[in-house]
Symmetry: C2
Subunit: 401 residues, 2 copies
C-alpha cells in the first residue's frame, strides 16, 4: 500500500474549536442545504459538538436555519444554509496611478467595483490619506446596505513582510511603511482587521477562489505590471516564505550576458521578458496601456518586428516558468496584467521553452488570467473570506444598528 505524505504541522492546539467551526462553515458552503446530522456524518465530529458549533455560527449570522425537510428517512431535519447577508469583505489594490476597490459578500458575489485615479508617487502619508478616503467611502456604502465589514486587505506592488509592513515598493517610492497601522489610524480604528500583502500574492488568491482554475491546489500567478512577481499557491495555500518575500521571480537571472535591469543586475526576468522588453522604453502606466494596445494591433496585423519581439518575450517568460516548474511543479501558471492581451503571441514561445527545459514529464497548463485588471483587489476580498473560512469568525454584529 502506498499512501501520500503528510508532515508535522505547527501545533496550534488552541485553534481546534476555530478549525472545527471553519470545517462546519465550509461544509455548509459546499453542501447547503444540509442538516446537522449530515455534518456529523461527514466530518466525524459528534452530534453534540456539531450542534454547539452550528449554534455559534447561527449566532454570528454566518449560517441560518431554513424550513424542515421531510424528504428523508426518519425524523424531519432542520436544514442549514449559508447566511452572511449582513457582511462584506473589502479588497483594495494600490497601483502606481490608480486605486481599485472591490467589495464582496460572504459567498464572493461582487457588491462594488471602483477604480480611482491616484498619485502613487506621493509620500506614504499623503497616499494613506487618499486610500483611507476611498476605503471610508466603501465602508459607508456597506453600512448603508447594513453590512458589517469583515475585513480589508490591501495589495501593494512590492515586498511586504509577514507582519504586513511594506518593506520596499520601488515604483511607489515606499520603504518600511506600516501601511496597515497608518490606514487603521486614518480610519480611526474601524473595528475590522486590515491586512497588507503583495499584489501577486493577492491576485493568486483571487484566481484560487474565483478564477476558472479555482480550487487548483498548486497554482502560480505571474503579475505582468511594471514589475513581474509571482503568487505561489502550493497544497491549497499561499506560500509566502519565512519572511513574506517569496515570489520575487522578476530579478531571477536568466542570462548573465542579458540586458541591464532597473535593479542594476543583468539579464533579470523583468529585463528580458517584462513590459519594458515589450515596449523597449519606459512609459507612465497610462501611456503603457495605450502602447500595449498598439502592440496588439501590430501583432494582429502580422508585423514581423512586433511578432519577433513578442516571441522573444515569450522565450524569456518561458525560461522563468520553466524554473518555477522545475522547482515547484505547479499544475497551472496564470499570466496576469499586461501579459493578458499579449498572451496569444507570447504563449507559443512559453510552451516551446517548457518543452525544452522541464525535466519531469507533464508541464503545467499556462493560461492568461480572465479576472481583469482588478485581480489583486478581488484577491484582497478573497483573503478576507479565507480568514473567515479558516476560523477567524466575526464576533458579533454589535456595530450594525
Amino acid at each position: 500500500m502506498i499512501t501520500s505524505t503528510t508532515g508535522p504541522q505547527p501545533a496550534d492546539f488552541a485553534d481546534v474549536r476555530a478549525t472545527n467551526l471553519a470545517v462546519v462553515l465550509r461544509f455548509v458552503r459546499e453542501h447547503a442545504p444540509c442538516s446537522r446530522a449530515d455534518i456529523a456524518a461527514s466530518t466525524g465530529l459528534n452530534k453534540a459538538t456539531v450542534s454547539s458549533l452550528v449554534a455559534d455560527l447561527i449566532d454570528r449570522r454566518l449560517v441560518r436555519e431554513t424550513g424542515l425537510t421531510e424528504n428523508r428517512v426518519g425524523r424531519p431535519a432542520t436544514m442549514l444554509v449559508l447566511d452572511g447577508s449582513p457582511y462584506a469583505a473589502i479588497g483594495v489594490e494600490i497601483g502606481v496611478d490608480t486605486v481599485s476597490a472591490v467589495a464582496t459578500d460572504l459567498a464572493g458575489g461582487r457588491l462594488l467595483t471602483w477604480r480611482r485615479a491616484f498619485s502613487g508617487g506621493d509620500s506614504v502619508s499623503q497616499s494613506v490619506a487618499g486610500v483611507g478616503a476611498i476605503v471610508r467611502r466603501v465602508v459607508n456604502r456597506m453600512a448603508k446596505e447594513e453590512r458589517q465589514v469583515l475585513g480589508l486587505a490591501v495589495a501593494v506592488p512590492g515586498l511586504v513582510d509577514v507582519q504586513g509592513t511594506v518593506r520596499l515598493a520601488p515604483n511607489l517610492g515606499w520603504h518600511d511603511a506600516d501601511l496597515g497601522g497608518d490606514l487603521a489610524k486614518a480610519l480611526r480604528d474601524p473595528g475590522f482587521p486590515i491586512q497588507v500583502d503583495n499584489d501577486a500574492n493577492l491576485a493568486a488568491l483571487a484566481e484560487q477562489r474565483f478564477g476558472p482554475h479555482a480550487g487548483a491546489a498548486d497554482l502560480v500567478y505571474l503579475s505582468g505590471g511594471v514589475g513581474v512577481g509571482a503568487g505561489i499557491i502550493l497544497d491549497g495555500r499561499l506560500r509566502r516564505g519565512g519572511l513574506g518575500y517569496s515570489g520575487e521571480i522578476g530579478h531571477v537571472q536568466l542570462d548573465p550576458e542579458g540586458p541591464v535591469c532597473h535593479c542594476g543586475r543583468r539579464g533579470c526576468l523583468e529585463a528580458v521578458a517584462g513590459i519594458g522588453a515589450v515596449l523597449r522604453k519606459d512609459l507612465s502606466p497610462a501611456e503603457t496601456q495605450a502602447e500595449i494596445e498598439e502592440v496588439v494591433r501590430q501583432a494582429r496585423s502580422g508585423d514581423p518586428g512586433t511578432l519577433a519581439r513578442l516571441t522573444s518575450v515569450g522565450t524569456g517568460l518561458g525560461q522563468g516558468v520553466a524554473i518555477l516548474t522545475n522547482l515547484l511543479d505547479p499544475a497551472v501558471v496564470i499570466l496576469g496584467g499586461y501579459y493578458v492581451p499579449l498572451a496569444p503571441w507570447v504563449l507559443p514561445a512559453v510552451h516551446d521553452e517548457l518543452g525544452r527545459r522541464v525535466v519531469a514529464p507533464g508541464a503545467p497548463e499556462v493560461v492568461a488570467s480572465t479576472l481583469g485588471h482588478d485581480a489583486a483587489a478581488l484577491g484582497g476580498a478573497a483573503r478576507v473570506l479565507d480568514s473567515i473560512d479558516s476560523g477567524r469568525l466575526p464576533g458579533g454584529l454589535a456595530r450594525i444598528p
Copy 2:
C-alpha cells in the same frame, strides 16, 4: 490590526477525528506527562471528546497512563505519557552502489543503522529482490524486539510521482517502476504501508525532525550526490508539487553559455556546481568518495587551483540558492551529500552570491548538514512518524504475538 494569512484548505471532512487524534498525540509528545484535563484546556476539545480520543490512543499503545499526581489543585489526575515502545519506523535509501536502512522508535530514537553494498545498475526486479532481502532482515530484527513496523519509506535518487511510482531514476537506469508495489510483493504483503519518495525530499524531512534546525517552517535541503535535488519544506510541510516533481533544481539553467550537462542542456546547476564540476571527471561513487577526500586535503593545504575550483562551485551553487531564495524565501538552506566536507571552501562564495542576487532583505542561513550520509534513510523513518503524527495511526497489535 494586521493578521497573518490563511487560505482555503482542501475540505477533508472525514479526517476530523483522525486530525483530533493526531492533535492529542502531538500534545502528549510535547507536554508529557499531562492529564486529560490539560489536553482539553489546551486544545479546546471538550472533555468527553478528549477521553474518547485518549482511550483510542491507549488501545493502540501510542499513549499510556502513568501514576496519579496530587501535585495540583483539586482531584488528583491520571497522567499520560507517550508509549509506542512496541513500534518501529523503517527508512531505506537506495543509492547507486549502497543501500542504507534506519529504524527508529516512535520518539525517533535510533534502533538500527545498516549500510550494505548494492548494485543499483541491476534491473528493477533484481534490485527489488536485493532491497526486499535487506528490509526483511530489518523487519525480523524488529520482530525479535517485539516491535511492530509502522511503515517503510524508501528514498530513490530520481523523479517519484505522488502515487510513489519511480518515473525516472537515471543513475539507477530505472523508469516507471512501481517500487512500492514490487517491494510489497517481495515482502509478501507485510501488513505495513510502503512509501516511496525522492531522496532530497526525505532528507529534508530528516532535517525537519532531527537536524539542528528541526522545526524550521521554511527549510530547503539540497542533495549533493551524483545529481543535485532540492527537498522543499514550506509552512512546516514538504511541498512536492502537483505531480510530485518539485525540487528539480539540478537542471535549472544558470548560464546559457555554460558547460554541457549530462542531460544535454547547457549551464545547468548540476554541470556548473555539481560533483562533476568539483572533480572535473565522472567516477564511480566509491572512487568519488576517495577523490572528494583528496580535494579536501588539497583545499586544506591551500592548493590554489583547488581553492579556485571550489570557489567557482560555490558561486554556481550560490546562484542556485539565490533563485530558491527569491522564489521561496526559506529561513534555512541545508547542503547535504558531498557538499558537506567541501562546505568550508564553498560556503563563502555561496554567501557572496546571495548578497549580490537576493532582492529582499535578509538572506537565509546556509549550512552543511550534520545528519551524515544516511540522511535520506533517516528521513524515510521520519516520513513514517509524520504519517502517525498526522493521524494515520496503527490499527492494533494483532501481528505481534
